[in-house]
Structures are given as C-alpha cells and as structure tokens.
Symmetry: C2
Subunit: 247 residues, 2 copies
Amino acid sequence: MTQDATQAIETLTALGDIKVWSLIVTVLGDRALDGRFIPSAQIAAVLEPIGVKPDALRVSLHRLRRDDWVVSRRVGRTSEYALSTKGISISRRAAHRIYAAAPARDDWVMIVADTAEQQEMFSARPGAARLTPDVFLVPNLPPCGANLTAKATWPLPGWAVARIVEPDVWQGYERLAIVVRMIRRTVAQAEPGMQDAIRILVLHQWRRLVLRHPDVPDAAIGGAWPGAICRAEVQHLLALIPRAGSA
Amino acid sequence: MTQDATQAIETLTALGDIKVWSLIVTVLGDRALDGRFIPSAQIAAVLEPIGVKPDALRVSLHRLRRDDWVVSRRVGRTSEYALSTKGISISRRAAHRIYAAAPARDDWVMIVADTAEQQEMFSARPGAARLTPDVFLVPNLPPCGANLTAKATWPLPGWAVARIVEPDVWQGYERLAIVVRMIRRTVAQAEPGMQDAIRILVLHQWRRLVLRHPDVPDAAIGGAWPGAICRAEVQHLLALIPRAGSA
C-alpha cells in the first residue's frame, strides 16, 4: 500500500466539512493556548498544504477578530494573531478533551430531575447528557439532598447510547480511526511541513467529533465504542508529530 | 398511667376506619392461612370485644362469600368459614409483609422506562414505586439489556419519598407505633380473649398502612422513617400474644 502525505491530507479532508476559521482556531489552540501571538505567515504555512488560500485565510481571520475569538497586532510589516480571552477559555475547555489520552473518569451519576426548574438547570449544565425528559447523566455531581442520584449500570442500553451519541458521530469515529491508523507510517516519514498540516487536520476532525457529545466514560457506551478506539489512534499519531510551538 | 384492655381496644379502634369484613379477613389470615375452616362462633368471639355485633358479622361474612374471599360449610348446627383460593393467595402475599420482622431486602434498583409500553409494564408491576413518569423503583429486577438500571443513592430525597409514602400513612405509622408501645404492658397482663382482640386490631391497623405503599428498604426512606419504628413495635407486641390457632 503506497500512501504519501498529500494523499493522507486528501483523505483526512474528505472525512468532513473543513471550515477555515475552525482550522485557524485549531492551529492557535494547538500552538498558542497560552495566548501568545503567532505571525500570520506561520498560520498560512500550516494551512497551505490543506489548500487554504491567502484570501480565504484573511477573510476568516477578520471574521474571528470581529467575533472576538482572536486578537491581532502589527509587528513591523507582519500581522500577528493570538486567541482572545474568550478564545482561550473555550479552547482550554475543548483541549481538556481533545488531548486526553485516557478516557473520562467514571464519576458520572444518573440524576432524576423532578421539577421543570431542575430539568432546565441540568439541560444547561455543560457536559450533561439528557436521557429522557427528567433523567440526566452528569459528571462530578456535588452532593445535594434534593437530588435523586443513582449509579447507573454500565453499559447503557442501546436507546440511551443513541441519546448521547448520534449515528453520524459514531460512524465518524469509525472512519477517522481507520484513516489515522492507515496514515501512521506515512506521517512518520513525511517532511515537517506536511506533518504539521496533518497534525492540524487530525486534531480538527477529532475535535469535531468529541465536541458533539458529552464526555461519558467509555464503559458507559460499552465494548464496541469507536470513540475509545479512535482516541487511542489519534493520541498515538499526535505523539509522532511534535507540536510545532514546542519544537 | 392506667391502661386497661378495654381502653387499649378503644384507642386502637380510634386510629382509623374499621371495616368488619376486613377484620374477618385479618382473623382468617392470622389463624387459617392454610385454608382450614374456623367456626363462625370463634370469629364472633374474637371480634366481640371490638364491638362487632352478630348481625354485622353475618352480613359481612355473606358479602365475603359472594365476592369469593371466603368459602363456608355447615357442620351440624354450626357454620364454618375458610379463606377461598383467591383469599389465600391475596392473604399470603400480604402476610409476607405484615409478619416480616426484618426490613425489605435492599435489592431494589432504579429503572428508566423509555417507552410508553415499558412505563405501563412497570406501573402494573406489583410492588413497584413510580417516582416520575419514566422512573421507577423495583425490587428484584431480572437482568435485561434493554433496561437502563441504576443503584439509587439512599436515602431518597424528600420529593421521591413523598411519591412513595403519602403523608397520612407516615402519620399513621407514627401514631400506631406510639399506641402499640403504650399498650404493651396492658396486653401482657390482659386475659386471653382480650389479647386475641387486641392482636387482631393491631394486625388490622398495621396491614392498612403497609399495604398502602411499596415495600422499599428502610434505608431508602432514611433515618426518621416511622414505618421501621412501627414495624419493630408491632412485631414486639405480636410476639407477646400467641396466635390463637397455634395455641
């Protein structure tokens, strides 16, 4: 099987919707989560193998600045970009899941929300999974006498899993796991510029999936969970490509 | 504090609705759960101190026979009554709870019923407690992959307890426990005929309460549960009065 880096990039891109602004956020989240400024030329260089044109980059950077995702500054004749406070905050929360090598801690409890107010509260809770109108799975619940909590028996039945992970996310994990495993050797041998682009694409596709469902423990979904398999493949690949900022 | 047996009977009677037919079922359930026949004179003798007149007894026995709770036969000039097959079956199920010296086993699970069919099934399940439209507590659930089960954290919050035990049942246990404790010494010193009547009255009042809620473990309700206190008082008293049939 011959696989070169260009083909790897094409395959990863074909896995799903690539938005330029989202790629930029991935780059900054990967290299500048501490809020440091990155020259626009560096961002352009990473995204160029993925086919992002300078015009598209400029438009997206403008949009991100307008929406307060990034901030910019001029240094001599170059522009530099950094995540805004809001951008850092959102990216940090996402990073927690994107770079996790281990599955989520199994401190989830099932909670029965009796009143409309409670149901609204738990619906709004970041990371909670709603299984039925009044039954939620939540991580790390602080003890509270008014709540009816229970330790659910893992794995969850199929209908409950279906409330947590949509079918296209499930399939997305299956496909991404296969692709990431297939390109592993190619990546190890690719030149640094291509490695950087592949790293960003893998992070991007992985992030698109993990942020679409709450981070329930692997045991809750059960044996055939492609999310767990995909996590292992992605972390394995990321370990092969040093983060550009840290090089 | 002077308490005689007559006063004890009056106090127990005042605790709540006394139906003659229900007293008869209590007598037969206590003395003839195996389906043996009891002369009507014996039933009359037990209920006489409670103030049940022969006419009222006759009418109630007739009604119980018509509704297939009891069967009768003539032996010489006396009538004898026994529980019917239906009467035995219902009384056996109740006896399980009425004479239990120990709290219910803690093998209860919480179950989330996802579909209307499942909800109907668990609503119809004897002994199940419905906490919300789709959340049930059930004892002894056979394992089944389609069910979302969980081990609830005891004690349940107040709102869930309120779905299981109605306020007047809660108060009923409190009152019965006090009365049964108060009459303990009187009962030990009473003559056998009065002891028999008191035994039947205590069983009757106790049964009225226990059959009004599912038999959840004491730990589910929590520390202040008067049902557990009342159970201990009732069993203590019953142990003082030998069952007439076994004497």
